[in-house]
Symmetry: C2
Subunit: 332 residues, 2 copies
């Protein structure tokens, strides 16, 4: 009786669970949350729109995962511990065959991070998923421990976590602009559809990184936000960067069909990566490696911060790479 399932039934069936940290969860006018003493609340909202952020035929389980993952990624970039989230959902119809796997994918990731669904809204309309996520950041002696974009200083190293470019590679394959071997497509597609928010790494980097951002629109564009907020410039090593695209590491997979220029394009401006890009003083290299081990997350040092404004690309020989890379912009 899908047509008879109203808003309140739908919420009760798929999105209501016992409250844990929240004083009051789904089912009243507001949720009530009591942040731990000595913490500050980190808040971020992300909206996913069909046709823009995902294909109409995407597996709803992975869509549920990704809708929360992109929000947890923002908390990670602040060094926040996930606490709770709200979900506002516009659906063309209350389709149980869609809602059941969507809610499973969403809540599986939520449970993995102890992040509680505390409220939200459902309505009829073109498919739109809007999540607002809340996390805690310690405040020590009046000073917030949040990782901001504004703390990068000349001489700092620049790092990225994990791999970059594979999500874009999968997107292009799904769009039909290139063809990948099945195993390479499967691997790249997992990166596109089920990104891993670097929540543990973000927290491990508190007090270590000088600035951080999550890579959602492409590394160059997102790094520029750090450079602008910190009033600095940067130099990146393209011969290191190009190694970051995982699917091209095996010559029998993608390198045969994708030029190295295209690989670099995807690494530097692919988008949808949900890795962390961050800076740290050279004196903190051991602490950075310790954070990587603690969070069980690989890191790559790809450049350094300059006093001079602008973003420069250098190859292994120290020669300037002057081609242009365009960052992803949801309104460009």
């Amino acid at each position: 009786m899908l047509s008879a399932m109203g808003e309140f039934d739908l919420i009760a069936r798929y999105f209501t669970r016992p409250t844990r940290r929240a004083a009051l969860g789904v089912g009243d006018d507001c949720a009530l949350l009591l942040p731990a003493p000595g913490t500050q609340l980190a808040i971020s909202s992300d909206m996913l729109v069909q046709g823009r952020h995902f294909f109409a035929d995407v597996d709803p389980f992975t869509l549920g995962h990704k809708a929360l993952a992109v929000n947890l990624s923002d908390l990670a970039a602040c060094g926040a511990q996930p606490l709770a989230f709200t979900l506002a959902l516009a659906l063309p119809q209350a389709d149980e065959a869609w809602l059941a796997p969507f809610s499973r994918g969403l809540l599986a990731l939520a449970d993995a991070h102890g992040c509680e669904l505390v409220g939200g809204d459902t309505t009829q309309g073109p498919l739109n998923i809007c999540i607002t996520v809340f996390g805690e950041v310690p405040v020590v002696q009046g000073k917030s421990q949040a990782l901001l974009r504004s703390g990068a200083r000349a001489g700092d190293d620049i790092y990225v976590s994990g791999t970059l470019g594979d999500a874009r590679l999968a997107l292009e394959a799904l769009r039909g602009t290139l063809t990948l071997p099945a195993a390479a497509l499967a691997q790249a597609r997992r990166r596109l559809e089920q990104p891993t928010p670097r929540v543990a790494l973000g927290q491990a980097l508190r007090g270590v990184a000088s600035a951080a951002i999550d890579v959602s629109d492409g590394l160059l564009g997102d790094l520029r936000h750090i450079l602008r907020a910190s009033a600095v410039g940067a130099t990146l090593n393209t011969s290191v960067a190009i190694t970051l695209i995982a699917a091209c590491a095996r010559p029998d997979w993608a390198t045969a069909i994708i030029s190295s220029e295209k690989q670099l394009d995807y690494v530097l401006a692919g988008g949808d990566d949900y890795e962390l890009a961050f800076t740290a003083p050279a004196s903190a290299r051991q602490a950075v490696q310790a954070a990587a081990r603690q969070a069980d997350t690989p890191l790559t040092r790809i450049g350094h911060i300059d006093a001079e404004a602008g973003l420069r690309l250098m190859d292994a020989a120290g020669k300037a790479v002057t081609r242009s890379f365009s960052s992803f912009d949801h309104f460009a």
Copy 2:
């Protein structure tokens, strides 16, 4: 150069303002918020979809107002003091002629309530406005002062604030199912397009009301949420209720063309009212009136809570009114 205005320009131009209460506002991965000591955070999300919650040609200034008003109304129903909000916005295109008045209407109401825009998201897609709002509720000696749905007890009075039914009257006029005199339409339309969230009343009712909810889906439907959460029933006086529709108070306005049955329909099940419905012990009548004066908000006592489950309607003569009223459901 509309087409050249990207997401970041759009946010900077229309939605970035200096932070006040927030430790960090728009422009990093997360906003940072430090709730006052001894308070709990109240959180609510509402999503507005074109064609479902507003007409495509609605004045964007009033739409900005309403998008925040419906969220502030949820805070009001909890007795919370507004603190901050996030805005996620899907737009078909970055149209300055729309964005400028929309942001003015939104931020004018935000300023009136000291409620700060701290973050959000913009993306391209069918018009969708998702706001998540944060408020503070005092916690006194470990006990939250939030107004919940679950505190109504047999013998309690039932009140509603302001007027009910006018928003629905305007909606029907705009849909063309009835015709109103111009002055009546203008008045009713203000109620539909620029509802007044009862924020001051909600706070004044802390420690006075036993249960509260905001009337968004229609009085009967919303009151049933209180009855269910409190495991009680209720009796409403229809001869009092019918006086709540403002546009019909002048005989030369709407009564000539709208039957009294229809008027009662709109009052009890019209929806989109954003008034508060609440219960309070009969012993608290003076305190309720004091709260009404303090909040400068008219109240009407329309019934009482019964121990017996179910919602009963009685006319002035004490005779049962047995017709059925259907509540608004975004998926029905």
